[in-house]
């Protein structure tokens, strides 16, 4: 149980087999031996706060907190709660954390896809603050994620995912937001690769060209895994975008 971030960081650097322990839900499924599991649960990283220009979510905030907190429910058309509510079950979400999800940057991640469309920034103890998009493209980082900051500029947003069954991993997820200037940010995840933005579709949406956006989102790279094939995902991407646009119109 780390007593401070500095202590946690020193322990992390001490051995290649040290690992940060957040919810531990994913970590325990791995086969890598762990010499030190560094528990962050008593460092006060479990708060959600609204500042003048962003919503700041601590790395140890659980997915359940994200789902129930009044601030996350009210902000960004409620897409943060929507994005996590199909993840396994209530008990699971009471322990799994946002930090664990973001740091691990799983391809299938629902919250990462939602955060990318909200232009979130991630804050590391040593490396400081960076764009989530930059982090997703960067090589592995040996550092401690302390919080996620989301600018309050999004006016409307929608999160969509397709799953074979309610609590399964997503076949595809898509998240769209529009800011006060009418500019769109669109991300597509579980392709099955990591979530990425579709800038061509964003430009089309900014000029009101819905058909162009639906075409563009199909052009992202999609892959095949046990849940679906690349072609299927390509088709579903434009369906999810249509649904997101419908929801935002309403």
């Amino acid at each position: 149980m780390a007593g401070s971030l500095q202590e946690a960081y020193e322990l992390l650097l001490k051995s290649r087999q040290s690992r940060i322990l957040a919810g531990g839900m994913w970590l325990r499924l791995g086969s890598t031996p762990i010499s030190h599991a560094i528990d962050l649960s008593r460092l006060g990283l479990d708060t959600i706060q609204k500042t003048e220009d962003c919503l700041e979510i601590g790395a140890m905030v659980t997915l359940r907190q994200l789902e129930c907190d009044v601030l996350t429910r009210e902000a960004f058309s409620g897409i943060l709660p929507t994005s996590v509510q199909s993840i396994v079950g209530t008990q699971f979400r009471s322990t799994a954390t946002l930090g664990g999800s973001v740091y691990a940057r799983f391809g299938f991640s629902d919250p990462v896809c939602a955060l990318l469309s909200l232009r979130a920034r991630v804050v590391f103890y040593k490396a400081g603050e960076m764009d989530l998009e930059t982090y997703l493209a960067s090589p592995p980082v040996r550092d401690i994620l302390t919080c996620v900051r989301i600018p309050l500029s999004s006016q409307a947003a929608s999160y969509q995912s397709l799953r074979h069954t309610r609590t399964d991993f997503p076949v595809l997820n898509l998240s769209l937001s529009r800011d006060e200037q009418g500019l769109h940010t669109l991300s597509v995840g579980a392709r099955p690769m990591k979530a990425m933005r579709c800038r061509e579709a964003e430009s089309c949406l900014d000029c009101g060209d819905t058909e162009g956006a639906l075409q563009a989102v199909r052009q992202l790279p999609y892959g095949t895994n046990m849940r679906a094939g690349a072609e299927y995902r390509q088709e579903i991407a434009s369906v999810l975008l249509e649904r997101a646009l419908e929801e935002m119109k309403a």
Binding site: A37, Q85, T90, Q91, T95
Partner: protein
């Protein structure tokens, strides 16, 4: 290491290994209602409460329970009585393997939501898998329990 925690209202000290799960410690303490199903955080069978929140004990590191209050089915027998009766009446307790975890989740839901809608109920309980019942009988049992509670409230 020594884990000191409250189990079903009683202070306990137990020798544990640092990488042990709460599930394994609870079974060592004689709480056999706590069972392992998938052991990969998927099925909800190992559900217990830590400080009143339902969690999956198969994935909860035991050292994290230090100083906390843990509740298992053994600690809520009275509160669970009506629900167990309705589950039996509706045929929702078949092999019974999933029942303790399911009951802990339903009771947690009723403490949190008081009078949930069917949608809220399905959403809240979606992490409790059952291989026998097909869920309808479980849902009927909860609806009956809610009706009973409403009636008692109006009397």
């Amino acid at each position: 290491m020594t884990l000191t925690f409250t189990l079903n209202g009683r202070k306990m000290s137990q020798e544990i290994s640092p990488d042990e799960s709460l599930l394994s410690v609870l079974r060592r303490c004689g709480c056999y209602s706590v069972r392992s199903g998938c052991d990969t955080s998927n099925c909800g069978i190992c559900t217990v409460w830590v400080d009143g929140h339902a969690i999956l004990s198969c994935s909860y590191p035991a050292p994290r329970a230090e100083g906390r209050s843990v509740t298992t089915m053994e600690g809520v027998r009275d509160e669970a009585q009506d629900l167990m009766t309705f589950l039996a009446e509706e045929g929702a307790d078949q092999c019974g393997f999933c029942s303790p975890g399911f009951i802990m989740s339903v009771l947690a839901m009723l403490r949190e939501l008081k009078d949930p809608t069917v949608d809220e109920m399905e959403q809240y309980l979606s992490g409790n898998l059952c291989r026998c019942t097909g869920y309808n009988s479980q849902h009927r049992a909860i609806v009956k329990l809610l009706e009973k509670r409403r009636d008692e409230h109006h009397v």
